[in-house]
């Protein structure tokens, strides 16, 4: 398999997201400008210029018309996917870390970092159909989590919000009241900061990756630990195959320490594990730095990885997996 290498970013990649049809791939990087690519041949369709800081995450609406991006410049921006036009800017007092559209694209959950004297928050905003009606007011603000919240995603039917962060705890919140419904067991759960969270195709379970060198599979409703996948390096990115019982885990040590250690200890490969047997299936090499972002195409036949080296690699799925 010869992957397609896409060099659209000058700084490390932070996040990758396919649209629902799997024909567009959105990439975010620390270089302020998210890109969109055709997922079948890797041609760049366009760029979204306007952010003034690293872009941490993005999400695309179900009909692929709107893009929402969260950036370290303390804003979250709404974009028109087709033209690259900026539709609206939400302003915050702290860098925005994570963003996701709800089912139906009527709401968006946004997390902001702990910055200066601000506490980290999870905020829910209403997304208007017409950008002119868009308001900045938050429907719900959740505070009380210590440490940065790296991911906040919607639970089934928009009834819950699942958060994961640097305090290594996963929490499920009620969307109506903003109360914490469940909290992961500190003994079973991650021991170090959670870096990534990815839901299964039917949202019944989700996978979290942590710097404690493991990835864990959780039940979305009960928050019970289902499986644990152990690797040798901190996990920066995870995703669940929508097609087969596979999970892919990417990572590598901190970019800061890469030059100081043996490259064999780096393990900059995307590792495939069997979801149920928890066995390692294989690894796909290719990056020269830690993998920061991983995303399966919704058809399950290919996946993309984004690395600290600034490359997005779009990889055809190896045949042996099928």
């Amino acid at each position: 398999m010869r992957p397609i290498l896409m060099k659209g970013h000058e700084r490390p990649l932070t996040f990758l997201r396919y649209n629902r049809d799997g024909d567009l791939l959105f990439s975010c990087a620390k270089d302020h400008t998210p890109n969109v690519w055709f997922a079948d041949n890797g041609d760049r369709l366009g760029t979204y210029r306007g952010h003034n800081g690293a872009v941490w995450t993005c999400d695309v609406s179900r009909d692929s018309s709107r893009l929402i991006t969260a950036s370290a410049d303390q804003t979250v921006k709404l974009w028109d996917v087709q033209s690259g036009a900026e539709l609206f800017t939400f302003r915050f007092d702290a860098p925005a870390r994570s963003v996701e559209f709800s089912i139906g694209d009527g709401l968006a959950v946004i997390t902001t970092d702990n910055f200066m004297e601000n506490v980290p928050t999870v905020q829910v905003k209403r997304i208007a159909d017409d950008p002119d009606d868009q308001s900045e007011e938050s429907l719900l603000v959740i505070v009380g989590i210590r440490g940065r919240i790296t991911r906040a995603v919607w639970g089934p039917l928009n009834k819950t919000i699942i958060t994961a962060g640097e305090d290594a705890t996963i929490r499920i919140w009620d969307t109506e009241t903003g109360t914490c419904l469940r909290q992961s067991d500190p003994e079973q759960g991650h021991q170090k900061a959670i870096s990534s969270l990815s839901k299964s195709a039917d949202w019944s379970h989700f996978l979290t990756g942590s710097l404690d060198k493991s990835a864990k599979l959780w039940d979305t409703r009960t928050l019970t630990l289902i499986k644990t996948y152990v690797t040798e390096r901190p996990v920066n990115a995870v995703d669940i195959s929508p097609l087969l019982d596979h999970v892919v885990i990417g990572g590598g040590q901190d970019a800061m320490n890469v030059t100081m250690t043996d490259r064999r200890a780096g393990k900059f490969e995307a590792k495939f594990f069997h979801k149920i047997l928890q066995e390692e299936i294989g690894g796909v090499k290719g990056h020269f730095g830690p993998i920061n972002a991983l995303a399966f195409n919704p058809d399950g036949r290919s996946f993309s990885s984004g690395g600290e080296d600034g490359y997005t690699a779009f990889e055809k799925r190896p045949k042996v997996l099928g």
Partner: protein
Amino acid sequence: MAVEAAAATQKIRWGELEEDDEGDLDFLLPPRVVFGPDENGLKKVVEYRFDDKGNKVKVTTTTRVRKLARARLSKSAIERRSWPKFGDAVHEDVGARLTMVSTEEILLERPRAPGSKAEEPSASGDPLASKSGAVLMVCRTCGKKGDHWTSKCPYKDLAPQAEAFVDRPPTADGSGPSGGAVKGAYVPPSLRSGAVDRVGHDMRRRNDENSVRVTNLSEDTREPDLLELFRTFGPVSRVYVAVDQKTGASRGFGFVNFVHREDAEKAISKLNGYGYDNLILRVEWATPRPN
């Protein structure tokens, strides 16, 4: 269309022409005409031919042409395909080559068999082990670890090491002996095979470990002199004297790497303050560079 049709009629197989004489009458027939496909995908082909009795027959064939999109592409996805580029992608020139197909075949690597798996942790832990002085027996000629010393290497004749490194300029010293790394095209470090990597490691280790700095050397001291002086204390893996590139004169300092740390200690204690030529040597541990 007309041109295409004409081309089709002219294409008469010579083999058929010889077999039946009527074949040449095909020239008398009107050319094949193709209509459509129209918006419903209907294509009409009108052809003329002679039947068995020599009568001219008009044959009209109507077919429906359907374009098959790949099933997984939705309508909106196909529409998105024709979207114009925007942002930085508009001004992208062909030479930019943002998107490339990897020249390298990347395979899904299966985890190693249990037998070889046991070996891996020791290999990755090796740099640490050698740092503490546990694994020091490394052949510089063939890169084999723990098997034999460089001087007893069975492949010694292939790479005349001892003479080479003494007289060679320091820059060549780095890349020269590690022949494996310079073979063929450039391979990024993350993809090099284990053997090549090991050589790369040894090179670095050789420069860092048990290194003794010798200063206040006289101007005409050369590497062989220094080797002569230091080899009495134990096996020496590297000798280097800094030479001014312009004048060719010694800059008055050099480095000696010992295989054993104890030997290096001995050499420092004995030779520091030792009178050599007309100067008093200063011998000390080489401190690693700050960067």
